[in-house]
């Protein structure tokens, strides 16, 4: 059984012409790391939040979000709380706003265990010290307030807090974008190390392809609310099957090929206010045909992954080789 299974998730916001998430299917196996890659507005954050049972206000939902076999969308508030407290944890984008500024770090770390599992202060405190040690922080921070810590330290704190209940699944929503470049690498290394150590499944949301390649076993590429391509990280980057993946790779600078021309993807992602008939990428795709504009491609299984493109069998697209 997979730790997280999102099946045909369709989410429609009030006042929009097309679903903001359109048939998203995604699985994260036990202990596996999956990266969810896409531009801003592609729906990757919405997807990851759905895995925590967070849905936008007034949204219409279809499909299923199963964590350890249980459908979050069918749960009552109480059960959902239990899942959030024990099974799924999230590391948020900006650690500076993720902590209540008026409460001590120790309180933040132990709050969930103490209020939900009725752990004693001592037991929760011991657990907190253990995890602070795991993320490389001194236990002195337990007595400190968030404003006394740097962004990188705070992100370590939120990672420690996320692991307090030894969850089966960790969601990380762009956990490094709000940090300095130098701390970004540390946090990624820490996450990679910890999920191996604790055996936690990880869904890593990012817009950074290199980061995705470096940390994940599998990668899902999202575009306009759909997963256009999914597959093992190496294969997906080496031989992309979807023109969008290829275009994304071509627009990313590479250290080992500094002189290579970067191809920006022309045009804009489709607007939520207009309905889509065909493939969402058709308007920006070099290979698009009338078929693409008329009919939306379905996701087809290819070796090790899926791709949603009418022409994936006849296209040969250029990828990159990653030396991660």
């Amino acid at each position: 059984m997979n730790t997280l299974e999102i099946e045909d998730l369709r989410l429609t916001l009030p006042g929009t012409a097309r679903p903001v998430l359109d048939g998203v299917t995604l699985a994260v196996g036990a202990g596996e790391t999956v990266a969810l890659v896409g531009e801003s507005g592609s729906g990757k954050t919405l997807t990851s939040r759905a895995a925590l049972g967070f849905l936008p206000r007034g949204a219409e939902v279809e499909g299923a979000v199963r964590v350890a076999g249980q459908d979050l969308l069918a749960m009552g508030a109480r059960e959902l709380r239990g899942v959030r407290a024990l099974t799924v944890s999230m590391v948020f984008q900006d650690p500076r706003t993720a902590l209540n500024p008026l409460r001590r770090i120790g309180d933040f770390l132990t709050e969930s265990l103490r209020t939900n599992l009725r752990w004693s202060a001592r037991r929760a405190g011991d657990r907190a010290r253990e995890l602070l040690d795991a993320v490389g922080l001194d236990e002195r921070v337990l007595r400190q307030y968030p404003h006394e810590l740097s962004g990188g330290m705070l992100q370590r704190v939120t990672i420690a807090a996320a692991l307090m209940s030894d969850p089966a699944l960790l969601l990380a929503d762009e956990p490094t974008t709000a940090l300095d470049v130098s701390t970004q690498a540390e946090i990624v290394a820490l996450l990679a190390d910890l999920r191996a150590r604790f055996g936690t499944a990880l869904l890593f949301v990012t817009h950074d392809l290199h980061l995705a390649a470096a940390i994940s076993d599998r990668v899902c590429v999202m575009y306009a609310g759909r997963i256009v391509e999914a597959g093992p990280a190496g294969a997906l980057f080496g031989t992309p099957r979807h023109p969008y993946t290829a275009a994304l790779l071509a627009s990313t600078p590479q250290v080992d090929q500094p002189r290579r021309r970067l191809d920006a993807i022309s045009g804009q992602p489709p607007d939520l206010r207009t309905a889509l008939a065909g493939c969402p990428f058709a308007d920006r795709c070099r290979h698009a045909t009338d078929l693409c504009r008329a009919e939306a491609p379905v996701s087809t299984a290819v070796d090790g992954g899926t791709v949603a493109c009418h022409h994936h069998t006849r296209l040969t697209l250029e990828g990159i080789t990653h030396h991660g």
Partner: protein
């Protein structure tokens, strides 16, 4: 650190109080006519009475000396003598203090309970509850306490006959009963004010990321509201306590007039009417001192409410 802040804050406080007392004292010279006849309230007085006033305000000394001597008297509890009652002001105020103090305390309880309660409800429930409370508080902050008093008298005393229309009663229970309507009238405006401040600050806090994060960590909603929303809104609520207290004290003038209560406010009004300036002076000074004092307490308590505000860093948002 804390000691240095305390000393600095106390100095500032003393500065404000000294300046305020200077204004209140110097006012005598701003009045038309000479200070002596102004202080006598335009009454024709015996030479002895004139001499007494001159001595009391040290009118024969240079201005600066007059002020310092007067300030010295005030600091030792001598607030001057009432021209109307021919007795020390302090005694007059002391005699009226219990009734007014009870009135203000009852109003303060109402303000805190209903102000915060309604603001809380309004912020959490939304929808029709929120709309109703918003309309109610809009009217409340447009209603001066004497208007509230008239309407309450009409409804609950005259029409329903539940409460007495006048007087402050004997003994504690009876006093509380007599002061129920007055304290409600006094509290109404500030209940509206506090409800709005509570609602706004709580809504602001609810929109913060850390609240979403807490929910995402499976913390129970009631705990989230208590520990992360309301707790964080407290700072914004505390900032207006100085204004609330001094506003309540001044508005006792209106409520005591409407309900015929003999208290500090009533003393102030009658003293203005008969030009008994020493009494007006003393009460003004007390109100200003109270405002400054409440603000000092809030300032000192603020680091407990919000650890980001280090003592001495000020609490300007």
């Amino acid at each position: 650190m804390i000691l240095r802040f305390l000393i600095r804050r106390l100095l500032e406080l003393t500065g404000t109080l000294v300046a305020a007392s200077f204004l209140v004292f110097g006012a005598v010279y701003l009045a038309p006519g000479n200070p002596e006849s102004f202080l006598l309230g335009g009454r024709s007085a015996t030479p002895e009475a004139r001499a007494a006033i001159r001595a009391q305000y040290h009118l024969d000394d240079p201005f600066g000396v007059q002020y310092l001597k007067w300030l010295g008297q005030v600091l030792t509890g001598d607030l001057g003598r009432s021209v109307q009652y021919r007795s020390p002001v302090l005694g007059l105020i002391e005699a009226r203090l219990p009734s007014t103090l009870l009135l203000i305390s009852m109003a303060l309880v109402l303000v805190v309970v209903f102000g915060i309660g309604l603001g809380w409800l309004s912020a959490l429930r939304g929808g029709a509850t929120d709309a109703t409370i918003l309309v109610g508080t809009s009217v409340a902050v447009g209603t001066p306490s004497f208007v509230a008093a008239i309407v309450l008298i009409w409804l609950f005393s005259v029409t329903l006959g539940w409460f007495p229309t006048t007087g402050s009663g004997e003994g504690f229970v009876d006093m509380v009963y007599h002061l129920t309507l007055p304290s409600t009238a006094l509290a109404l405006y500030w209940v509206g004010v506090l409800a709005r401040v509570t609602r706004t600050t709580m809504l602001d806090e609810m929109g913060r990321d850390h609240v979403t994060v807490a929910r995402g960590r499976g913390i129970a909603e009631s705990t989230v509201i208590r520990r992360h929303v309301f707790r964080n809104a407290l700072g914004g609520i505390a900032t207006i306590s100085g204004l609330t207290v001094s506003g309540l004290v001044v508005s006792t003038v209106l409520v005591e007039a409407a309900f015929g209560l003999g208290g500090i406010g009533d003393l102030l009004q009658s003293s203005v009417a008969v030009k008994d300036f020493p009494v007006v002076q003393a009460i003004s000074l007390l109100v200003v001192a109270l405002f400054v004092l409440v603000n000092l307490v809030v300032d000192l308590a603020f680091p407990l409410i919000d650890p980001r505000v280090r003592l001495g860093a000020g609490r300007t948002p």
